[in-house]
């Protein structure tokens, strides 16, 4: 079901990517979020990443739960199918969609309330199943859409706009994803486009469960002094672990590993894509799941937010591999391929007498 887009007329000054689209073609409806909401910056980063990756917009299925963050799929990739499902249960819908047609690219967008509170169960299970997707949590530590209640990622002791102090300890989705077997785990900041765009690109081409937790301050309810998810707080406490230069080779081309000793670790992925990771922390190894868990926890204890690619499995398997499903998308199979037929049924009948 792949269709090459017909060449269309574009404004002559707009650059066109390899599949013939301008950046405009990756935009969606005009956002209705609060001006300055971190979520809009993430939408912009997704647009940029998809354009740079030369993805045909309609080959992306974008799914979300409920919340301000979950509204954002309406604001990018306007020609692709979106699905605003129910609160916290996007992961199961995405899993089903992915099983029905493995040929599309799956992008799940969620909020911290959506994923860490009501949806923590589904978040956990979609990671451990290894569904091939990019799962982004737009993490602001509050419920935006229902106006400022704490979410489960809010730090203990942080203050809500109404002055309530959060007494519960926070859920760290990155730690959870690492523990549950996600094969690509990163954390970023909505205000750091230079870091976020390459991370999104790398996560999209990663053929397994990729998770990016993006700190995304809520200007309306969580950008005040006392909040640990405000712009200022994050800027002051951010320690990037690495920066990614990203190259992508399409499937079946020769796998090239561009590896420079010292500062660069090359991650060769299962499908032939290679990530070149320029490490800022010289001792950081993104292939080490346990190390990543330790590192994140240690830094966290010191009140620091670690951003960057924390872990990637260069040989990921996805749910389809686990289930040994056919290459052909299920949604194209008909009775001819699926029905065992009347003769077989007669035999089944005979065995039941």
């Amino acid at each position: 079901m792949t269709y090459i887009a017909k060449p269309r007329l574009h404004h002559p000054t707009l650059p066109i990517n390899k599949v013939g689209y301008t950046r405009r073609d990756y935009e969606g409806k005009i956002s209705t979020l609060c001006a300055g909401c971190g979520h809009d910056s993430i939408s912009a980063a997704i647009i940029q990443a998809c354009w740079e990756l030369d993805i045909e917009p309609h080959r992306v299925a974008k799914l979300s739960g409920i919340g301000c963050s979950s509204k954002t799929p309406d604001y990018f990739l306007g020609n692709s199918h979106g699905f605003n499902s129910v609160h916290g249960r996007m992961p199961s819908v995405l899993t089903g969609a992915n099983l029905a047609n493995r040929d599309l690219i799956y992008l799940g967008v969620s909020g911290d309330g959506d994923s860490a509170s009501i949806g923590i169960g589904q978040f956990a299970h979609v990671m451990r199943r290894g569904v091939n997707m990019l799962y982004i949590v737009e993490n602001n530590g509050v419920y935006g859409l229902t106006k400022g209640q704490f979410s489960a990622t809010a730090d203990q002791g942080s203050q809500s706009k109404r002055g309530v102090v959060n007494s519960d300890s926070p859920v760290d989705l990155v730690a959870l994803a690492l523990q549950l077997g996600a094969t690509f785990v990163a954390r970023s900041f909505s205000g750091d486009k230079n870091q976020l765009v390459p991370l999104i690109k790398a996560a999209i081409v990663h053929p397994g469960a990729a998770f990016i937790d993006v700190i995304s301050p809520c200007v309306a309810f969580n950008n005040h002094a006392g909040s640990t998810k405000s712009y200022e707080y994050v800027r002051d406490h951010n320690e990037p672990v690495n920066r990614i230069d990203f190259d992508y080779w399409p499937k079946r081309e020769e796998i090239t590993v561009d590896y420079a000793e010292g500062e660069v670790v090359s991650v060769t992925q299962h499908d032939g894509s290679v990530l070149r990771l320029r490490k800022l922390a010289a001792d950081y190894d993104p292939h080490d799941r346990i190390g990543a868990m330790n590192f994140v926890q240690q830094r966290q204890a010191q009140g620091e937010v670690v951003t960057g690619l924390l872990f990637v499995d260069p040989q990921p398997e996805d749910l389809h591999a686990h289930l040994k499903t056919a290459e052909t998308p299920f949604n194209t199979l008909g009775a001819k391929e699926l029905c065992p037929g009347a003769t077989t049924l007669e035999k089944i009948n005979a065995s039941l007498r």
Partner: protein, 612 residues
């Protein structure tokens, strides 16, 4: 007291302890009778427990093919001291009890009006076997052997069943045959054989098959083209998903590539299992889940989404006793309203009511078609009684010429040709709009699916008129559903009748027998078996053409009756509920007694019209 005499028409009940390995021996007994050409209808009555609690297996031997429960027991195989008293109480006057007399019981432990057959089972068993496991298992086979002598069952038939079961396992085969004859020989030389009740060879089984409803529904899903199954274990539906897995492994693996043309996910809970089905349905795969009452409760938010966003979803609800955990291993028809109106807001859903495994197969395959045709959730409402009991039914049939109904799918070609697309546009006036699948076209046909209100072009809208238009269209769609679902079936009385009776699902075989018995008593009843909701117009006509209509159901609150009143505008004064809800399958006797009681009340006392 004269002992009961009956050939090919009696009820044997086995009282055992859960986990004692009696299940396969008891089934062997039922199958042996079946192989002699005599229809049987067995039922498991089991506790929500793995080991230790009482369990029963009731076999109805029924030359007339009455496959419902009759009520009463002619021969009790009383192997469980825990339930001795109530087991003895259940025996019909003149009936028989077979028990292990290794430790003989005093006469006071029995009734005067029953025949007592004691056999020192444990003693016979222990004198032959030393291994405790063998003692446990072969004791069951020994009593089957004794029963074969008592009921005149041909031992060759049982040996044949053994040889099929233990093909290639000669040692097991020999030891089972030996145990069988140990029991049989003891009975022949020490007990009076045969009893007044016996089995005689006949040819009443024909080409019927012997199958569980859950397996049949699973096969229906395979034949109906389901590729995605997401489920969460719950009695009595788990064996359905497990059977689907088994059948898929056999029939859906590509012989060349060894790849699976199916995906089965045991989800983390019912919220996820229905979510997976919703996602797969949205993306154009045929998907289903199987669950029971508590699962339906958890799924309702998603069911509302599927209804409002118009996504094909198939749900097989194998009903059990509710509310809450209720009676998890007992049967009821008590999810009717919960499913018909599942979720918040104004929703109504299509329900199908299969009567037996054959219809479990047919209706599951049909549900997958209907869900895509109507782009909505479709429920197959079975229950534990059909789902987990092996039933005799007509052979399954499939027409290879039939293609799957994919419903109104907008293709790339049509979009390319410029056909107008509005996801919620009622182009054909039947309430069903066209849909596109994700990835169909680079610039046309893309839209956003959501549970919130939208306009005809799927644009977010909170405008009242858009909402109302949408809700009205959904009603039109429900009217269309009426024309697509299975029609009700009329069982007319032999002569004109003033009473009507409505029933559905697993009540069917008991009802068939009850109608015959009522007719013999001169109570004539026209019966209508409802096979689906929304209700066909015939159902309303049927109600209107009888002054009184019995609505026979297996729940406390007369749920189908409520639905008839709510949704078909039937005058509720005409409807007389006949309700059975103790968790056991309804019996013919119960129906006869209830209908006869009401019928006499309504004939003796003239019906007075209330004038207001």
């Amino acid at each position: 007291m004269k002992p009961i005499e009956a050939v090919n028409d009696f009820v044997v009940k086995f009282a055992n302890v859960n986990g004692s390995g009696s299940a396969s021996a008891n089934e062997l007994f039922a199958r042996a009778i079946l192989r002699m050409g005599v229809p049987v209808s067995p039922r498991n009555i089991f506790p929500s427990n793995i080991q230790g609690l009482p369990t029963w297996y009731e076999v109805r031997v029924t030359e007339k093919s009455y496959l419902g429960r009759r009520g009463g027991v002619d021969l009790m195989v009383a192997m469980n001291p825990q339930t001795w008293e109530r087991d003895i109480k259940e025996i019909e006057s003149g009936g028989y009890v077979f028990y292990d007399s290794t430790r003989a019981l005093p006469k006071s432990k029995f009734r005067d009006d029953i025949q007592v057959i004691g056999m020192p089972l444990t003693e016979v068993c222990n004198s032959t076997y030393t291994d405790p496991r063998q003692r446990q298992l072969f004791k069951n086979i020994i009593y089957v052997g004794a029963l074969s002598a008592l009921l005149d069952i041909d031992p060759a038939v049982i040996e044949k069943l053994f040889s099929e079961q233990y093909k290639g396992k000669e040692k097991l085969l020999d030891s089972n045959v030996k145990a069988l004859h140990l029991g049989r020989d003891y009975a022949l030389s020490n007990l009076q054989c045969p009893l007044g009740i016996k089995v005689r060879r006949t040819d009443k089984v024909g080409n019927k098959i012997f199958l569980e409803g859950n397996s049949a529904a699973a096969l229906g899903a395979v034949y109906g083209g389901a590729t995605v199954c997401a489920w969460y274990p719950i009695t009595p539906s788990s064996s359905l998903a497990e059977a689907f897995q088994r059948f898929c492994q056999r029939h859906r693996v590509d012989p060349q590539t060894k790849q699976n043309k199916f995906a089965i996910v045991q989800a983390e809970d019912e919220l996820a299992s229905i979510g997976i089905v919703v996602g797969a349905g949205w993306n154009g795969a045929r998907a289903f889940t199987a669950t029971s009452g508590p699962g339906i409760s958890l799924m309702t938010e998603f069911i509302g989404l599927a209804y409002f966003a118009e996504i094909p979803v198939t749900i097989i609800d194998v009903q059990r006793g509710g509310p809450s955990t209720g009676m998890p291993t007992r049967t009821q028809q008590s999810d009717v309203l919960a499913c018909a109106y599942a979720s918040h807001g104004d929703t109504k859903h299509v329900l199908l009511f299969p009567e037996d495994p054959k219809e479990c197969f047919d209706f599951t395959a049909q549900a997958l078609d209907l869900a895509e045709r109507l782009q909505t959730p479709v429920f197959v409402m079975t229950d534990l009684d059909i789902g987990m009991n092996t039933r005799l039914c007509d052979p399954l049939q499939w027409d290879d010429a039939q293609a799957y109904d994919r419903g109104k799918l907008m293709s790339y070609e049509r979009l390319e040709a410029g056909t107008e697309f509005g996801r919620y546009l009622d182009v054909d006036g039947d309430g069903i709009a066209y849909r596109t699948l994700p990835g169909t076209h680079p610039t046309r046909g893309g839209y956003f699916t959501r549970g919130t209100t939208k306009d005809r072009f799927a644009r977010y809208s909170e405008a009242g008129p858009d909402y109302m238009e949408n809700m009205q269209r959904l009603l039109r769609k429900f009217e269309t559903a009426k024309t697509l679902v299975p029609k009700p079936l009329l069982l007319p009385a032999p002569k004109p009748a003033r009473f009507g009776a409505i029933f559905y699902g697993s009540t069917s075989p008991a009802m068939a027998e009850a109608l015959d018995a009522l007719a013999e008593r001169g109570i004539l009843v026209n019966a209508l078996r409802i096979r689906a909701f929304p209700f066909a117009d015939e159902i309303v006509d049927f109600c209107n053409s009888h002054p009184w209509v019995f609505v026979v159901e297996q729940n406390r609150d007369a749920q189908l009756k409520t639905l008839l009143v709510n949704e078909a505008g039937v005058n509720q004064n005409r409807l007389i509920p006949v309700l059975h809800y103790d968790g056991t399958p309804i019996t013919a006797r119960y129906i006869v007694d209830e209908i006869a009681r009401h019928a006499s009340a309504h004939t003796v006392v003239p019906f007075k019209k209330v004038v207001s």
